[in-house]
Symmetry: C2
Subunit: 275 residues, 2 copies
DNA sequence: GATTATTTCTCATACAATGAAAAATATTGC
DNA sequence: GCAATATTTTTCATTGTATGAGAAATAATC
């Protein structure tokens, strides 16, 4: 949740109520009113008011004594995303089919671009024993590392890339995406031309990532479909074959979105990204 | 989301920002600033401010043109619940094992009591073809209907039951849980004694629900474990056998919680419920 | 690169959030 | 079941910040 906190700090307005939500982390998933009050620097009275409102909205829920944890609205809204996100809807079946055809020990990921962050929104674990991938559903992925993110990055509008480069030049250089703007630009153009991105052990040691971009009807990038497989099983031929499968999967998702019972979410158009 | 809306209306304070979140429903999963402004009766300027804050917290995220949908923080926080809720952690394995032993066409549900609502937080679908259960993960369940809810209800503190009865007498009568307070009380006592609740087609026609209560270390009710199976496969003997399995599963969950790597969420004690 | 759509900024006003202490309500211990 | 304690809500005067209209800036579209 590091990024969320960082953003909150930047937010001009003193909206401390939403800051309460950001207190809930894996390290500390429950908070008392008192502890939260101290942490956000507000009186107990006001914190009681915040907790009451958040509880009313179902975002948090009381448990044990004076403690609160995240509440039912979170689960409810997550369901909404699962049901209504057209990309996720379309991808579900494609991913299940793809994983059957992939190597043993493979995992399929669907990642989505949210504004200027990438997150896994669906994951299918294939047959065969395997360690979990480190960026499971619900963890923000680094924007500049891993096949998944890189292939998305490669298809962001130039405007966006420029501002990203300005803000994250150091990270970009470190990730080996180019030493300067022109270099970066050329590296991404190469990825675009390839139609997919293959990385070796960038996020998880001993595993290969193969990612293909997923576009909306206006050809704007929505996210990516990735196949993660153990490096042990992969020679060049295998990689080439799975790359083709992944790209085909991405195209299938796009087709399913275009046809699909688009009853719920109409037409996702261009994605807005960091300025 | 009906209940959430209802609560919001009751809330004394004019916290219209959280009301924005409640606009996002299955029927309408994306909103423009303009539409939301009109709906909640606030100027466009203020609505832009709300949207900006919610976006900053990751609760919503811009897509297509002027539209917004639920954002990455929802998925993040849902992961937090999945990882940190001790009951859910403990139940995962138990449920997977239980579903193997259950009849074909069975589904296992883990439901949690949140304050005064019950919601499915984990679901495992067994082998064999079967229609989905109507209360999948993330949908609030009716408090007075279905085995899942009834067995939870039966173990709420008397105080709580009294206030629930006062507020929902009509519903309780309609659900056949008793015509008056004493009747209601006795019906619940019977359920408690039975140690489980079995219902026939109360939520889904043609299906039987078997639910066992799950308690925390202080013996306060946390939620329930349910087995849903097709009525076609169930005679009395089968039901008795699966009831035993379900109860055993609930006990196993409790044991796992007690032992379990309780690193994250310490000791969930007494559940606070509606006054 | 020009036009249009979307978002942010500015600023005066009013309304609502805030904190301390008291009152009410739950929870716990006996 | 009742007393003691912990937790939550209310009250009320004060300050502060949210609010809306329009202008300015920025981003999207052609």
């Amino acid at each position: 949740m590091a990024i969320m906190v960082e953003r909150a700090r930047r937010d001009s307005s003193g909206d401390r109520m939403l800051a309460v939500l950001e207190l809930f982390t894996v390290e500390r998933p429950q908070w008392t009113v008192e502890a939260a009050a101290e942490r956000i620097g507000v009186s107990a009275t006001t914190t009681y008011r915040y907790f009451k409102r958040l509880t009313g909205a179902g975002l948090i829920s009381p448990i044990a004594g004076a403690s609160y944890a995240l509440g039912p609205a979170i689960v409810q809204m997550d369901r909404l995303i699962q049901i209504c996100d057209p990309m996720l809807r379309a991808a579900r079946l494609v991913m299940t089919e793809l994983v059957q055809r992939a190597a043993e020990g493979s995992t399929i990921l669907l990642c989505r671009l949210f504004h200027d962050r990438v997150m896994c929104v669906h994951l299918v674990v294939g047959r065969g024993p395997q360690p979990p991938v480190s960026y499971e559903r619900g963890r923000l992925m680094p924007l500049f590392r891993g096949a998944t993110s890189k292939i998305i990055l490669a298809h962001l509008p130039t405007r966006t890339l420029k501002s990203l480069f300005a803000r994250h030049a150091a990270e970009i250089v470190e990730a080996g995406l180019g030493a300067g703007w022109e270099d970066f630009r050329r590296a991404l153009a190469r990825l675009r031309r390839a139609g997919a991105c293959v990385t070796h052990g960038e996020l998880d040691a001993g595993r290969i990532g193969i990612a293909a971009p997923v576009f909306d009807r206006e050809r704007a990038i929505l996210g990516s479909l990735s196949l993660v497989l153990p490096a042990a099983r992969a020679d060049e031929g295998v990689i080439a074959r799975f790359q083709a499968l992944t790209v085909a999967g991405a195209r299938e998702i796009e087709r399913a979105m275009a046809n699909g019972s688009v009853s719920h979410q109409p037409s996702p158009a261009r994605m807005k990204v960091a300025r």
